[in-house]
Amino acid sequence: MTAVWRRAALLAPSLGWIAAFLVLPLCLMAYVSTLARGPMGGVDWNHHTADAYVQFLFERDLMDRLVVNTDYLRIFGRSFALAGGTTVLTLLIGFPTAIWMAFQPPSRRLLLVFIITVPFWTNILVRNYAWILLLRTGGLIDTLLRASGLSNEPFSILYTPLATGIGLTYSFLPYMVLPIYVSLEKIDRRLVEAAFDLGASRWAAFRRVILPLAMPGVMGGAILVFVPGLGAFISPELLGGAKSMMIGSLIQQQFGQSRNWPFGAALAFVLFALVLLALGAHQLRYRREAR
């Protein structure tokens, strides 16, 4: 009995805090998404409606009929495309990087992990801001292109989906490299040697031994990039233009200019549900493989 109480007392501050300042707010948000919009913004506590969810797909035309509106769907689609593209890109760059790191001498490996981890822990705002300096007209890339005579046109991809993609890739690359590296580093070197010994080429050893064993890291990295990528706010706000809006900015807008809290809450709730779905699918897959 005392052991039970001691454990409860130890867990109370952290779990209590998370329950009070995260779980409760999330429930509140779900609740607000079912309310009607208040006349002056805010919400009407007495009026329940599915309007917020209907608004996602339909709008009312002049004759007050519901017609399909794909604006929001397109923003979701773009978010998925950017998050997915970022995942693929970070995987293409990150996987070979992780392999190279994992097969370096141990002393150098520690240093490399440190080097990869530093950007991971430096301010995400600063890191995205740095890309403005590179990508804008009159920025570093523009200046270099013109100075070298390769181009006379002003170069600018700032405020395009491409810039957002670069920002996301830059922000999340360490999230991909580190878990893959960790799973590769755990691989018993002798397994790979055994593959070589049994006549496997480098490619065969990679495909038949290294890749399957690194798969948990790859899946973990993909989740770590895709999930925050979907809800990214800073990269699209700083680097993307009005035409490349992502879910995060759309949600923020409902609490800013649009003053449509129920719709904002509904959007946030849908985003959260999508993230949970992705995590759930990952868990399920992981469990099945573990068995």
Binding site: L10, P13, N123, A130, L133, R202, E237
Partner: protein, 259 residues
């Protein structure tokens, strides 16, 4: 003979990664020390933008706010996380899985969702937005950061050590501060560092829960950047960068020297 462990294409990829990760940061730092406000016209080294930071009262105030928030979030977050790690490190009990899931929840909720739901909560419950509300929200998000290294440290500890202390007449509390605490100290230091850096670097959650007149440095810089690029931002960004790297490197060295 070529080393067995050298896989084709991996070296260029790794070099690309390192260049890609560091070039933007280096450009930022270099520009912050430039005299002019454009890259095209480099005319020498200058501390002029740093002087402007120093003269900007609003910015200094937000720096102070950020440090206050980070220190409080670190202290409360690390304390709560240490207790949770002690409770969850050993043994199985009903609700353990739920507790672990709940502790990981702040990592899973998209920042934007967390930000607006906490904002809704504060507004509807009637908590005034300001430094306090930022601290309240930050503690939630630094708990898992602090928890993971402490838990890892506890998991790496031979359970027989605590039993040996009990066997040698050390009551529970004595065993805790004579044996457990010294042994998990590097984990607590690492956890506190991550909590501190995490709080210092947060933009999204702070952006939503900060009130007028009381915001953190990253939120202030965020709004400046959205207005347009000024070299002052380069300087203050470099300062933020230096702070994160310094704290992170320090904890890295501490954790390595203690083994």
């Amino acid at each position: 003979m070529k080393s067995l462990w050298r896989f084709p294409f991996t070296r260029p990829a790794a070099i690309f990664t390192l260049v890609f990760l560091y070039v933007p940061i280096i450009v930022l730092v270099v520009l912050s020390f430039g005299a002019e406000d454009s890259i095209a016209r480099w005319s020498g080294f200058s501390l002029r933008w740093y002087a402007e930071v120093w003269d900007n009262d609003t910015m200094l105030r937000t720096i102070r706010n950020s440090l206050t928030v980070a220190v409080f979030a670190m202290l409360f977050g690390t304390a709560a996380a240490t207790m949770a790690a002690l409770a969850l490190a050993r043994g199985t009990f009903r609700g353990k899985t739920i507790a672990a899931l709940l502790l990981g929840l702040p990592l899973v909720v998209p920042e934007i969702v967390a930000g607006i739901s906490v904002l809704l909560f504060f507004v509807l419950v009637g908590i005034r937005l300001g430094i306090t509300s930022i601290i309240l929200a930050h503690i939630v998000f630094v708990i898992p950061y602090a928890y993971l290294p402490i838990r890892a440290r506890l998991d790496g500890m031979d359970p027989a050590l605590v039993e040996a202390a009990a066997d040698l007449y050390a009551p529970r509390w004595t065993a805790f501060y004579r044996i457990i605490l010294p042994l998990i100290w590097p984990g607590i230091a690492a956890g506190a560092t991550l909590a501190f850096i995490g709080s210092l670097g947060d933009v999204v959650v702070s952006y939503f829960v900060s009130g007028p007149g009381a915001t953190t440095l990253p939120v202030y810089v965020f709004s400046m950047v959205r207005m347009g690029v000024t070299p002052v931002v380069n300087a203050v960004s470099t300062l933020l960068l230096a702070a994160s790297i310094a704290v992170f490197s320090l904890s890295y060295l501490v954790s390595r020297s203690k083994g």
